[in-house]
């Protein structure tokens, strides 16, 4: 190793307490930033995966046709072309769901609550039984055509028990008001903030309530083997559908740029007219494009914390190295007398700072990784309101290696900036000055 770098490294061990203190300050800052980065890294994927589960798909195809008075009617009447395109795409499909849904008001013994009801084919969607844990009731009771599964929260608000009959008010796809009855077949563990949104009924009964034929539905959900291939799968399916069916253009953005691409698409759709069913293909990423903004905000917050923490730490490092320079002034004089150039003296301080920064930063990352490991062991449960940002009830973290490396580089650079002034002063000393000033 370079002689000056070797001395710089050994110098760190001279004042162990001081080195540990400065290194710990750097490590603490890095740990906080790494934890935020790790959380932000997993946040987007966790939310998307959880939403994929709730919505039963990574890629979705919905159909819309123009009804009376140009009203949009959400329906898929014949999915032969869709099924063929999904098959031909070669996408890693786990399963395909066919759902209809409405937003209606549930009424029981004078109590009302507004909720979404998803109509699912429970014979096909066996995975739903595994994912949605029932607190009361049983899946077998879903064989009853008018059966309904509510989350614990909604059931509690309605004060309804398993076996009770619940009235429902909703609109059909053509906008006509309708009423129906559900029999409460099960109460599921509350799925947090989305508990009120998700209630499940049989597809055929929901179709009847909203005015669709039994073999029709509104949205096809394509669940892949993971989030990663969502966009490529969507592109393949979209390409397969092009030419066979009428398709809305993908990725349309609002000229104002204030809304999500998904919302912009919806707006675009309401302006157009067409005959028959026109299909819209979208992905979980489009629905959750705002999540990216949250992740960006988290990353920005992490960057601000990094800078603020390190401005404070840098002031400490700069002052400490100024003191160190005066403590070692005799050594600087000796080295200069023996033939070390000004650049060598400067390098010695800068090497010392870089070693300190690297040591602190690596320690900080290791501590953060250990903390992530420990935190991710805690089971917060699926009923936790924050479940949507978790993975199976556990907080999870993903630290992109480049982000971690970037943080280390930023810290090393900031430390170099902090030490530049004392290092420069040390280098400017003439050997005689330094030897005269030594203790």
């Amino acid at each position: 190793m370079n002689t000056i770098a070797n001395i710089a490294l050994r110098n760190l061990s001279r004042q162990k307490k001081r080195t540990i203190l400065l290194g710990s300050a750097i490590a603490f800052g890095v740990m906080i930033v790494t934890l935020i980065n790790g959380f932000a890294g997993a946040f987007s994927a966790n939310v998307a995966e959880n939403f994929s589960d709730l919505m039963a798909g990574h890629v979705f195809i919905s159909g819309t046709e123009k009804g009376a008075k140009d009203k949009d009617v959400s329906v898929i009447r014949d999915d032969t072309a869709l099924t063929a395109a999904v098959k031909a795409s070669g996408a890693p499909v786990k399963y395909v769901t066919r759902r209809s849904a409405f937003s209606g008001t549930l009424i029981f013994e004078g109590k009302k609550i507004r909720t979404n009801v998803d109509g699912a084919n429970l014979d096909e969607e066996t995975f739903l039984r595994d994912r949605l844990l029932l607190k009361e009731g049983s899946w077998d009771a879903m064989e009853d055509r008018g059966a309904l599964i509510l989350s614990e929260k909604i059931a509690r608000k309605l004060n309804a028990d398993v076996g009770d009959t619940i009235l429902v008010q909703m609109q059909t796809v053509t906008g006509q008001s309708n009423v129906g009855e559900f029999r409460l077949a099960g109460i599921s563990f509350d799925a947090g903030i989305f508990g009120q949104m998700m209630s499940y009924a049989n597809l055929s009964y929901v179709n009847e309530l909203i005015g669709l034929a039994p073999d029709e539905y509104q949205t096809m959900g394509i669940m892949l083997d993971g989030l990663k291939r969502t966009e490529s799968a969507a592109a393949s399916i979209y390409a397969g559908l092009s030419g066979d069916v009428q398709l809305f253009e993908r990725g349309v953005k609002d000229e104002k740029g204030a809304e999500t691409p998904f919302q912009a698409l919806m707006r675009q759709q309401s302006k157009e007219t067409w005959d028959g069913v026109k299909y819209r293909l979208f992905t979980i990423n489009e629905i959750l494009s705002q999540i990216k903004q949250i992740v960006a905000a988290l990353d920005t917050a992490a960057a601000i914390i990094l800078v603020v923490l390190f401005i404070i730490i840098m002031v400490g490092i700069s002052n400490t190295f100024s003191i160190v320079m005066f403590e070692r002034i005799g050594e600087i004089g000796t080295m200069r007398a023996l033939g070390v150039q000004r650049g060598g003296v400067r390098s010695m301080f800068l090497y010392e700072a870089v070693f300190l920064a690297l040591g602190g930063a690596i320690a900080g990352i290791i501590v953060a990784l250990v903390a992530m490991g420990i935190i991710s062991l805690f089971d917060f449960g699926m009923e936790n309101p924050a479940f949507i940002i978790m993975k199976n009830g556990h907080l999870s973290f993903y630290l992109p290696p480049l982000r971690a490396a970037g943080n280390v580089v930023v810290i090393a650079l900031l430390t170099l900036v902090a030490v530049a002034s004392p290092a420069g002063k040390a280098a400017k000393l003439t050997p005689a000055e330094a030897l005269r000033t030594q203790k």
Partner: protein, 245 residues
């Protein structure tokens, strides 16, 4: 042959608002292989002169010739290179690098500059120097594990490791007891004889003055006596002795 020459050298230090004239126009010539004592009371300008001869400080006026070459116009990098190649230093407070052990402290000057010595040759030479200064059993020890006398021996070996033409020693026995001081002096005298290295001391120590070939006495920044082997020495090197003269 003149190896160092000072020509009307003055050195003025600013001390707050006052200018202190530490050296008031000094001229003398030092010959190669000499064992020279620059003696005088505290504040007489000994260390200032030694610093200027050692190129760690520059005169306010006048010229320092090293091996016949003027040095006042040289840039810092050139002065540093010249110091490394020509001079060895022994300090009153030893000034060893605390994080390096005995062997590494002695090796340190060889790792500077552009010239590299072969690994085997370097090891052989450093081991020889360590043996010469009697520290064979201490080579792995750090300076804080050594006595004052041992530290000064390390400093002597370090000063000699680059085979310099001149070794400058600023009160090398001041921090040593008399017995150790005597041993150190004997060692330096031996090296002076064997390697023909020029030794220039600034000192109060009468023992050094007694064994010196050339004595320059100072008082208040002026030379009061300049004798070489009992006879008055010339203030300037003769033209045949120094290219700068």
């Amino acid at each position: 042959m003149g190896i160092v020459e000072l020509e009307n050298v003055r050195k003025v230090y600013p001390l707050g608002k006052v200018q202190v004239e530490a050296v008031k126009g000094v001229s003398f010539c030092i010959e190669k292989g000499d064992f020279i004592s620059i003696a005088g009371p505290s504040g007489s300008g000994k260390t200032t002169i030694l610093n200027m001869v050692g190129l760690v400080d520059q005169p306010t006026d006048g010229e320092v010739f090293l091996d016949g070459k003027p040095t006042s116009k040289l840039k810092d990098a050139e002065l540093t290179r010249l110091r490394h190649e020509t001079l060895g230093f022994i300090f009153q407070s030893f000034n060893l690098i605390p994080v390096l052990n005995v062997w590494e402290n002695i090796e340190f000057p060889l790792l500077l500059g552009k010239t590299r010595v072969g690994k085997d040759e370097k090891k052989e030479w450093i081991d020889h120097l360590i043996e010469e200064v009697g520290l064979s059993d201490w080579r792995k020890h750090k300076p804080n594990e050594l006595s004052g006398g041992q530290r000064q021996r390390v400093a002597i070996a370090r000063a000699l490791v680059t085979r310099p033409q001149i070794v400058l020693a600023d009160e090398p026995t001041a921090n040593l007891d008399s017995a150790t001081g005597e041993q150190i002096l004997e060692l330096m005298k031996k090296i002076n004889r064997e390697l023909e290295t020029t030794f220039i001391f600034s000192t109060h120590d009468a023992r050094i003055v007694d064994i010196a070939d050339h004595i320059i006495r100072l008082r208040d920044g002026l030379v009061t006596e300049n004798v070489r082997r009992g006879e008055p020495a010339a203030a300037a090197c003769s033209s045949g002795e120094s290219a700068g003269a």
